[in-house]
Amino acid sequence: MAVADLTSEQFSRPSPRLWVARQVLLAGVAGPVTVAVVGLTWFATTVGLAAAELGGLAVVTALLWLALRGRYRSWGYAERAEDLLVRRGLLVRRLSVVPYGRMQFVDVTAGPIDRWFGLATVQLHTAAAASDARIPGLATAEAGRLRDRLAALGESQAAGL
């Protein structure tokens, strides 16, 4: 199947919990920053200036939220018969085709926030440093399944350097 004919439905998506995690992270940064900046201004200078800052920060946060949502939506992966497709990126759009036979190893990582939300990142490594096949925000069970499947496929289709 040609790449151009692949529709969004044919790509698997990261877990919706990734979007929740990203928003929590955004709120966790934007909230305290807003409170601190606006509170200090209010306390030290005029209410008008504080309101203007509040507006500005709200706009920035909204833009960040949109960018994060776009990035979250852009992630997708498709397991084809002989290769894995991974697409990502909002401004710079990337689509990687990584043949299973080229796989050197698969890597599953989960940081503290990921673990809190039950998420993990699966990354496929080839002998090329430029290869780019990272899928973030998979539910832990799905990440395990994907890792085992990739490892099995990689072994059965392995090609030498």
């Binding site: 151009a4 689509l95 090329a128 290869s131 350097l161």
Partner: protein
């Protein structure tokens, strides 16, 4: 004695001396003047240096005593280390190349270092430093025979020279390389700055840059002096070097890519250069500088005809300049104004060739069975222009091959075609039918 019986051998007894020759030299330079001066205060001060010197020699001797190696079965086995024992096993089916390196002092003593090159990083220090010249040659022949699945007593096959570089031309070409272009730019800049500020002293700031460029040129000449390529049934033999010489054997089928480079200042002379990429481990600690040079030339400088015929030997049926006939659409000029004249892509069912380069024209020839992964990338400007780039990912991190700024629809199509062609090429090279490449013994597994 039991060691001997099991086939274990030691390195040459002079190895520690050679190995630490640089450190010893530096220390001697530091110690000698004061010791010779003979004043008592100076003599006392040189004790620390002497202690370090003795320690270094002792460490070298200990390392020699605890190191032994042998070729057993289909493995090269090296055991070394005094405090931290290290046991290295190199499966010969995975050998990418075998090098023999002779440093200047080693040449005087008739000693050589044997390096077994395997792919990947941190693959260990699979090298034997140092052996007698004849022994190094013999071990290399044996390793390569085993790597190709032949009997280990198979004599080294005869070779046929196919190209060598003219040394006069090499010196001129090295002087006209990319560092020189950068230097000229810098000189122009400093000159302008000096003229504008009215302070000629500003121009002096260029001096360090001249030394840097000069040493880069010398390094390159030292590395590529008299470089010659010979063809043998088991691979390409590449030899060269001025002070330190090296001889590499690159098995066919281990060549990951070839690169044709035309630096800016070479263009009036119609010269170009052919470089080869072999899957090598990354630079290791303790490796001396020239040995793992970032670019390995097959022909450091030559006429397009010479380079073309050499390329034809390694990858038959490829025209390195074919991409120039398939340029991206004219609107790509807006995206890549400097490199536009070099852009292009060409492929058939065995190779893909991509063109690029802002200053130098760089054509990368990749056999499709070596392609690791493919990527389609489209930035905001490219999207507006309805363009996209297809990257061809090669082993390691040094070379980039990409069909830049293609029409977006064409790029998606190219991605599909290359994916399919690479898949077929892998199938062919893994199958038992194709043994022409000898070096693909390890690929079947």
């Amino acid at each position: 004695m039991t060691d001997r019986a099991a086939g274990w051998a030691r390195l040459h007894p002079l190895s520690p001396l050679l190995r630490f020759s640089r450190a010893v030299f530096v220390l001697l330079v530091a110690v000698a003047p004061r010791t010779l001066a003979g004043d008592t205060g100076g003599a006392r001060h040189s004790w620390p240096e002497l202690a370090v010197l003795i320690l270094a020699v002792a460490a070298g001797v200990v390392s020699w005593v605890v190191t032994r190696w042998r070729v057993a079965g289909s493995e090269l086995q090296i055991e070394t280390g005094f405090l931290r024992r290290q046991s290295i096993r190199v499966p010969l089916a995975r050998v990418q190349a075998v090098d023999i390196v002779r440093p200047l002092l080693g040449r005087a003593l008739g000693l050589a270092e044997l390096r077994v090159v395997v792919a990947g990083s941190g693959a260990g220090r699979s090298r034997l430093a140092y052996l007698r010249d004849e022994q190094a040659e013999a071990v290399r022949a044996r390793l390569l025979a085993l790597a190709h699945g032949l009997h280990e007593e198979t004599p080294e096959p005869p070779e046929r020279p196919i190209s060598s570089v003219g040394n006069g031309r090499l010196v001129v070409a090295s002087l006209l390389g990319t560092p020189t272009v950068a230097l000229l730019g810098l000189v122009a800049f400093a000159g302008a700055a000096a003229a504008l500020s009215g302070r000629p002293a500003v121009a002096v700031s260029v001096l360090p840059a001249i030394f840097v460029v000069g040493s880069a040129v010398l390094t390159r000449v030292n590395l590529e002096f008299g470089l010659s390529v010979a063809e043998a049934p088991d691979g390409l033999r590449v030899r060269g070097g001025l002070l330190q010489t090296r001889a590499e054997t690159i098995p066919y089928g281990r060549v990951q890519a070839l690169r044709w480079v035309e630096p800016l200042l070479w263009r009036p002379l119609r010269w170009c250069r052919l470089e080869v990429d072999v899957a090598r481990q990354r630079r290791e600690r303790g490796d001396d500088s020239g040995s793992n040079a970032s670019e390995r030339a097959l022909l450091p400088v030559g006429s397009p005809g010479e380079v073309r015929s050499l390329l034809e030997r390694v990858f038959p049926g490829v025209d390195p300049l074919a991409p120039l006939a398939r340029r991206p659409p004219a609107r790509a000029r807006a995206k890549a104004p400097l490199s536009f004249r070099n852009l292009g892509v060409w492929y058939d069912d065995r190779y893909v060739v991509t063109g690029g380069g802002r200053v130098s024209r760089t054509m990368v020839v990749v056999p499709l069975e070596k392609v690791q992964s493919l990527r389609l990338v489209q930035g905001p400007l490219a999207r507006r222009l309805h363009l996209a780039t297809v990257h061809v990912d090669l082993v390691g991190r040094r070379w980039r091959a990409a069909a830049r700024c293609r029409d977006a629809v064409e790029a998606a199509d190219l991605l599909d075609r290359l994916t399919e062609l690479a898949r077929r090429a892998r199938g062919r090279s893994a199958g038992p039918a194709d043994r022409r490449t000898g070096g693909s013994v390890g690929d079947a597994g």
